[in-house]
Subunit: 218 residues, 2 copies
């Protein structure tokens, strides 16, 4: 019974993920699903990206949180349209929730739509939202053991941003171990070392973003 | 159908939580369920507690992780018996899983058993493991908005350890806001500011721990 219910939930999610995928394909909108632990820097990364890329890309953001719309407010302050989904306790966004808010941020008019998932390194990775690519953010203070402890999430990443490198001098963190452990579960992942707070290393991430956007419009 | 299945899962969990509660009561063992985001410092906090309190309390630890037994190894290196539960993808520990390993760490002979839950600020808070008290750890680098964004977890805490205060000089963090936001959802929570890395502030936490242990043996 448990399996069949899980299958039903996942099948309903997949149905809406396909609808979202068709929407993004039709309107040539690059969609990225951003996943991390609470406080790894998802919103700060997106806010800086919006500010730095404002002359190059039109960006919209779908924000997921258990409660509050503070992240959507931060994104709007950075200059992009944003909509907040409050999951009221749920530990991840669903494709259906995403589908329900596409119009409200005029997603069809954007070059890139980011979906900032609920802060959680486990549950969001099981739910396809219809995105083109998945971005996982790992911050230095979380420790260098996270890729081996949460292999499913890192296996599903197209890009990993190792964030908060400005704190490297104050925190023990074995970067070589992290690179090797991500490679072991996901040899194709692109990995960039960044500080969304200071801007260090962000250019490589922006280049990747523009390449992805380019690819879907060709 | 969804509700009744959830109720069935929770009811089975509650059945085992009651068994665990009876076990801990019978053997006068204080049981604490430790919840936090990935990388907030659960294992470091427990390892330091074990080392600092080795002449005062006999401690055992049940470790929960999606994958790897590295945390159990760290706890053993600190001098306590530990057992690792690999949840193989599940985002929280269940009371049944805890029940299954009580014998292997000779839990009946301990003064305190810590259950280190899977790193996740959402799901573990919905599952009673039969513990006496719940400890939530929030680390400075995660940001001061976590209590408002994850109110359920903070509402269920008996103690909140605000960890990594040694990084306060390098990270913007409004402690007054955190104290107020925790108080708003949970006025009875004890809050201690600590650094498990340096040992700063840990004495107040140890005092609380000894008081709790005292209370259940009276």
């Amino acid at each position: 019974m448990k399996l069949s219910l899980n299958q039903k939930i996942l099948s309903r999610n997949e149905e809406y993920a396909q609808k979202n995928r068709a929407f993004f394909a039709k309107h040539k909108v690059l969609c990225l699903n951003v996943i991390s632990s609470p406080g790894a820097g998802k919103t700060t990364t997106l806010a800086r990206t919006i500010r730095d890329m404002k002359d190059t890309l039109t960006i919209g953001v779908i924000e997921g949180d258990i409660k509050t719309d503070t992240d959507a407010q931060k994104i709007r302050a950075a200059g992009a349209e944003a909509v907040q989904i409050e999951t009221k306790g749920a530990c991840h966004l669903s494709a259906e929730q995403v589908h329900g808010v596409l119009k409200s941020i005029h997603a069809d008019t954007k070059d890139v739509v980011f979906i900032e998932n609920v802060g959680n390194l486990v549950c969001p990775s099981a739910f396809d939202l219809g995105e083109h690519k998945r971005v996982v953010i790992l911050s230095i203070p979380e420790g260098d053991d996270k890729p081996v402890k949460y292999p499913g999430t890192f296996a599903g990443a197209d890009v990993v941003l190792v964030n908060k490198i400005d704190l490297s001098d104050y925190i023990e963190f074995n970067l070589q171990r992290v690179l090797a452990d991500i490679c072991a579960v996901n040899p194709d992942a692109q990995i960039y070392q960044v500080s969304a707070a200071t801007g260090e290393g962000m250019d490589a991430w922006y280049d990747w973003l523009c390449q992805q956007r380019q690819q879907i419009t060709e």
